[in-house]
Amino acid sequence: MLLFCVGSYHAQTNVFLIGRTLGEKIIANGDTLRVFGFAPNLGSHPPIPGPLIEANQGDSVHIDFWNVSQLHHHTIHLHGLDVNQQNDGVPMLSFDVDHMEHGWYHFKAPHAGTYLYHCHVGSTIHLQAGMYGPIIIRPSDGSNTTWDGGFAFDTETMLFMSEFDTFWHTDSILDHPHDTTAVHDSLEVPRYNPDNFLINGLSDHQLEDSIELNSKTDFVNYFRLVNIGYCSNKVIFPASLGAQIIDSDGRPLPSVEMSDTVEIYPGERYGVLVESSVAILDSIEVYYYDMMTGTVKDTQYVKVDIKVPNNVEEFKMLRDLVLAPNPVTNELKVMFNAIEARAVGYRIISLDGKLMESVQPQRVNQGKNLFTINTSGYAAGTYLISIMDEGQVLSEQFIKSSE
């Protein structure tokens, strides 16, 4: 489930981001925290994480960064994109952007993959404050594949992990001075004791119904995992999802690795494919580890709900399946719409699994179609009819009455 999409054009992507330091964020206990962040406009608080930057491989990306931050300096570091020094966003090696100034960053989108951006001024404080966001570089054609010639997928979910220490979000910590004459902008960093453990900026009950894998059987689901916190994460997928780790840090792995568990450290990204042939209602577990002691600080959960598709609205080519009459006695009319001409067959099974009838695919026309089925020989009871084309199935139950 992706975040905020910034305008994308074929060979050039233009991005506009505003650096803010008076943002507000409601955390799980209902309190409002002051946050820094990147906002798409002046009228809204900066989202945590920041707006998604999205481009296709090979695109020229131009970022106009406007700093409206009450005297704070900021930059944009394009993490993992291997941009040149001038665009790297490290203040003493390129430039920083003062209050009410604009900074421009340019790069050519490299390998398709998952990246991120964040401020590199007073990084330890500014990242914790919220100045980070995701970048997705898609394949050259913008398709739902992991990279040019990579894996096709049906759904895409980003899990962007971080934490908040609420004490760090007080004015005394956030409003640190900037010494613009120093090579290193030195600042005091308090002891870190995170108390909110975030996925896409949310935690605990905020995650419920907000972030989940809501998919269908036999769909290929692509997870983009990102860690920008100061804890390491262990992400554990339900075993039945058959998780495959396919990429990291914007590059394919040398070989696909089958593992339900992905360890992801600060700054790393991983790509994971999951798929199930059966319905699943379960959770992905996300552990947050203290990197100093190795102890678990917290666990968050992401709901996984994979259903067997049975809703006509969910299909592209076959729709509006109607059975009449239902209940039926001797003759069942099966009506459906085909979005385009194609071969469609059907089969009928009883609820105890007995195959009553199976008809090989036959060509149907675009638009409304009708199959008429003689049910006079069926025993009274409930049956399931499935009409099928290439790779799609529509199913409905009907009742054979005794009269």
Binding site: D82, I125, V189, S232, G267, T293
Partner: protein, 287 residues
């Protein structure tokens, strides 16, 4: 005690011709105790394997070509017994009494990074500083990063034989080869300098107690060797997870010029004494 490890002696005898032509070396290292002065003037008790009896907070960098053997004399100048082991190499573990000497032979038949360290006392002495890098397969463009973290109070406690509750460990100093930003850039064995197209090897080990996550700006690097994850070999990454007492051999072939930072992306470790950015942070310079 003067003990030459039998398995390595046997290997040496069986391969005498190879040894003669392969550049085996003799080397002496000293277990020294001293004081590490942090960048901000703070001082902590420290121990290290040094090249002489003069204390330095930098452990000796041991390097060998693939297949070469280092015949190592370990002299303990400290007042207590210490241990010596090499993670990933079998048959090395030994102890050396105060003011005594042991002899070991270390080698590897393939490229790799191995951590030599004091294994006794739950590796507390290794934490105190007695842990270094044995690099095998180095080339002329090789750099070494020995990552450590320290909490002043814990160093004091370990030095005096006190107990340590590692569950409350909160390090306040983070170093590479004993130095932190910006001084680490003065270390020519750490500060990568090269040119476009060079094949640069970085031997990187975490010999501290905390975990780290080392992020490179400007480049992706290939993992040639991992102490704990053979399946990581061949991965191209910009960020490398570093569990304690693990290491990598990384290959960098720069494709652009510039000066780019490398730092721990657990940004708590880019601090020193509570001050940003005086921790695990250095730069790479490609001309």
């Amino acid at each position: 005690m003067n003990l030459l490890k039998v398995p390595f002696l046997m290997v040496c005898l069986l391969s005498i011709q190879t040894i003669l032509f392969a550049g085996n070396t003799n080397q002496t290292i000293y277990i020294n105790s001293g004081v590490h002065a942090c960048f901000d003037g703070a001082q902590m008790p420290f121990k290290a394997f040094n090249a002489s009896t003069s204390f330095s907070n930098r452990n000796v960098q041991l390097s060998a070509a693939i297949g070469d053997t280092i015949f190592l004399e370990v002299i303990n100048t400290d007042s207590i017994q210490h241990g010596f082991d090499v993670k990933g190499l079998a048959g090395i573990r030994d102890t050396v009494a105060a003011n005594d000497t042991i002899n070991v032979a270390i080698s590897s038949a393939s490229l790799g990074i191995f951590i030599y360290y004091d294994h006794i006392n739950n590796e507390d002495e290794a934490y105190l500083g007695l842990s270094g890098i044995f690099a095998v397969g180095v080339n002329s463009n090789t750099f070494f990063w020995n990552l450590k973290d320290h909490e002043l109070a814990v160093n004091d406690s370990v030095m005096t034989g006190g107990s340590v509750d590692w569950m409350t460990y909160y390090p306040d100093y983070f170093t590479i080869n004993g130095a932190s930003n910006p001084n680490v850039n003065l270390d020519t064995t750490a500060r990568v300098e090269g040119a476009i197209g060079d094949t640069i090897l970085i031997y990187m080990a975490n010999t501290g107690r905390a975990e780290h996550s080392i992020h490179f700006h400007g480049y992706h690097l290939e993992i040639l060797f991992s102490t704990d994850h053979s399946n990581y070999v061949g991965r191209l990454k910009d960020t490398f997870p570093m569990k304690k007492m693990t290491g990598y051999v990384l290959r960098l072939v720069p494709d652009q010029t510039g000066e780019y930072p490398v730092h721990d992306h657990n940004l708590l470790s880019v601090t020193g004494g509570g001050l940003y950015p005086f921790g695990m942070f250095l730069t790479i310079l490609i001309q």
